[in-house]
């Protein structure tokens, strides 16, 4: 696992891609920070939460090549024909991407120090946001890696993970929209069902969908209220995608088409 991790992590810095991603992230986080600094009130939590919305772009970019490039160049054969488990390969690449995100996050640490020096608030809620940031990153990187293993084209992989992450980011909105439109549809003229029953049933469904929203689950962390269940949710979601990735790679061995 460590061999793959080392290669993938340093390969970000062998080409300009890693540096450009770092520069972009520094610029964006700097912009968010300076805006707050200029207004005289700095909430690192809201900076981190704003940065989270860039996941939809950052994570596809840093994960798209992880398996797609190996497939394209034929180097994936190394993982199959050398004495190591494919799951170790998946984990190695996963931690490489996570580490790159960690390096990017050093910017925010610098912002925290500046805030603290200026007698601003770096409280438990800030650290809660940091924890949530990384657990969401874990989930999304796993998704990105899965997308990368499905295809040998970096572009297709990036688009796939972009779409999945976008859907997850919009889950709450989608479920609200869907439930209101479905309930009005069902209780409308065509079906003329009992409005109360319909709305109850639809609410259950939309609650079920909302249950899958990692953002809603983790929103209390920024207020310093830490809960284990949402973290378990993110980790287990990541585990499922990593395992699926492993299975997709393994499939290549026995697939007959």
């Amino acid at each position: 696992m460590f061999a793959v991790y080392k290669r993938e992590f340093f390969s970000y810095f062998r080409s300009p891609v890693g540096y450009i991603a770092l520069a972009l992230f520094s610029f964006l986080s700097g912009l968010l920070f300076i805006n707050q600094f200029g207004s005289g009130a700095i909430s690192i939590s809201s900076e981190i939460i704003s940065l989270r919305s860039f996941f939809v772009v950052i994570i596809p970019v840093i994960t798209m090549g992880l398996f797609a490039e190996d497939k394209k160049r034929g180097t994936e054969i190394l993982f199959y024909t050398n004495p190591l488990s494919l799951f170790d390969v998946v984990l190695g690449k996963f931690f490489a991407a996570l580490s790159l995100l960690g390096v990017m996050f050093l910017n925010v640490i610098v912002h925290m120090i500046i805030t603290a020096v200026n007698k601003g608030v770096v409280d438990i809620g800030t650290w809660g946001s940091v924890i949530v940031y990384f657990f969401l990153a874990i989930l999304f990187i796993a998704i990105g890696i899965f997308a990368s293993a499905l295809t040998d084209s970096q572009i297709i992989s990036a688009i796939l993970s972009f779409i999945i992450i976008l859907i997850i980011q919009l889950i709450s909105t989608i479920s609200t929209l869907a439930s209101s439109s479905v309930s009005s549809f069902l209780s409308g003229k065509m079906f003329s069902m009992d409005a109360e029953k319909v709305s109850k049933a639809v609410e259950k469904v939309s609650n079920g969908i909302k249950w899958l929203d990692p953002f809603a689950k983790t929103q209390d962390f920024r207020y310093g209220i830490f809960s284990v269940a949402p973290l378990v949710f993110c980790l287990s979601g990541a585990l499922i995608f990593l395992y699926l990735t492993y299975r997709v790679l393994e499939k290549k061995r026995w697939a007959q088409n």
């Binding site: 160049r73 004495p83 026995w254």
Partner: protein, 302 residues
């Protein structure tokens, strides 16, 4: 060393490998001969654990590739048809990565790498980017990669394809060198290459084993039904009559005629094992027909 029994690999309705069985002895260099698409690469991919067979077993050093993959893979160094190179790394970075991947202990790694670098003659490009190397050097880096971890078995899939004649000779020399202390399986679609480096040869066609034989036996068989090309001055008819009288010649075809210079194919069926070429020469000189060219036609499986 390697035992392959009844290997089948199916892709959809097509069987890329259809019941191949053979064994490789320790220290042997086995040639894997067959036209393109015969199933050579698929077989090699199965032996190295890249693909799993539809049925049949592969045992490497007694370890089944499906049941004890890690043990089996430890014994094998593999150079696939397309060398698995990371173009964004330098040669040394890449080989170090391969050491990590094969779990080579850190102690003694430097010496091992130095040995491999000088063995495959890539010392002078060690700090260059793999992507900037010529095809011949890339192939050598591929071989170097297979040598890491000192595996007992080397599996080389078409190691000379796409190289220029000079590079081919060098790679062949390298393989002969490696053969001294490795068991090697080498695939090729060129007979002469297999003849040049292998002890034994497995010929496959359409996913099946067509023949397994030692090189010497194979050469005999091949020369037993070989063709010779003869170009001379004189009357075709006279020559035909003279030669057909000789034992061991089963057919003569006229190829090209240009005024009094003629070229003929002679099909030889030499069952007795003696060389028919000597008797042809004497027959020609006796008849007073000057020989302009006289050579055996090359055998390839293409």
């Amino acid at each position: 060393m390697i035992e392959i029994t009844n290997l089948v690999k199916r892709y959809g309705d097509k069987k890329a490998v259809n019941g191949i069985s053979f064994t490789v002895q320790k220290g042997e260099v086995l040639g894997f001969l067959g036209p393109n698409g015969a199933g050579k690469s698929t077989t090699m991919n199965i032996i190295t654990g890249y693909l799993s067979s539809t049925s049949g077993t592969v045992k490497v050093n007694g370890h089944d590739i499906l049941e004890e993959p890690e043990e089996a893979k430890k014994c094998i160094g593999y150079l696939p048809e397309l060398p698995p190179l990371y173009l964004d790394m330098t040669v040394l970075e890449y080989l170090n990565f391969m050491c990590d991947l094969k779990k080579v202990p850190r102690a003694g790694r430097k010496e091992m790498l130095a040995k491999i670098l000088s063995m495959v003659k890539i010392v002078d490009v060690a700090d260059r980017l793999v992507g900037n190397l010529s095809k011949g050097y890339k192939q050598r880096v591929g071989i170097a990669q297979a040598l890491i971890g000192d595996p007992e078995i080397l599996i080389l899939d078409e190691p000379t394809v796409g190289l220029d004649p000079n590079q081919i000779l060098e790679i062949r020399k390298l393989i002969r060198n490696l053969a001294k202390d490795h068991t090697i399986i080498l695939s090729s679609h060129i007979l002469s290459e297999v003849q040049a480096v292998c002890d034994r040869v497995v010929i496959i066609n359409h996913g099946k084993v067509a023949a397994i034989d030692t090189i010497t036996d194979l050469s005999k068989k091949l020369s037993g039904s070989s063709k010779l090309l003869l170009s001379f001055k004189g009357s075709v008819k006279d020559v035909k009559n003279a030669l057909q009288a000789l034992p061991g010649i089963s057919g003569i075809n006229e190829r090209v005629s240009d005024s009094d210079i003629h070229e003929i194919d002679i099909t030889v069926s030499n069952e007795k094992g003696s060389d028919v070429r000597t008797s042809i020469f004497y027959a020609m000189s006796k008849g007073g027909w000057p020989i302009l060219e006289f050579r055996s036609l090359d055998h390839t499986l293409e």
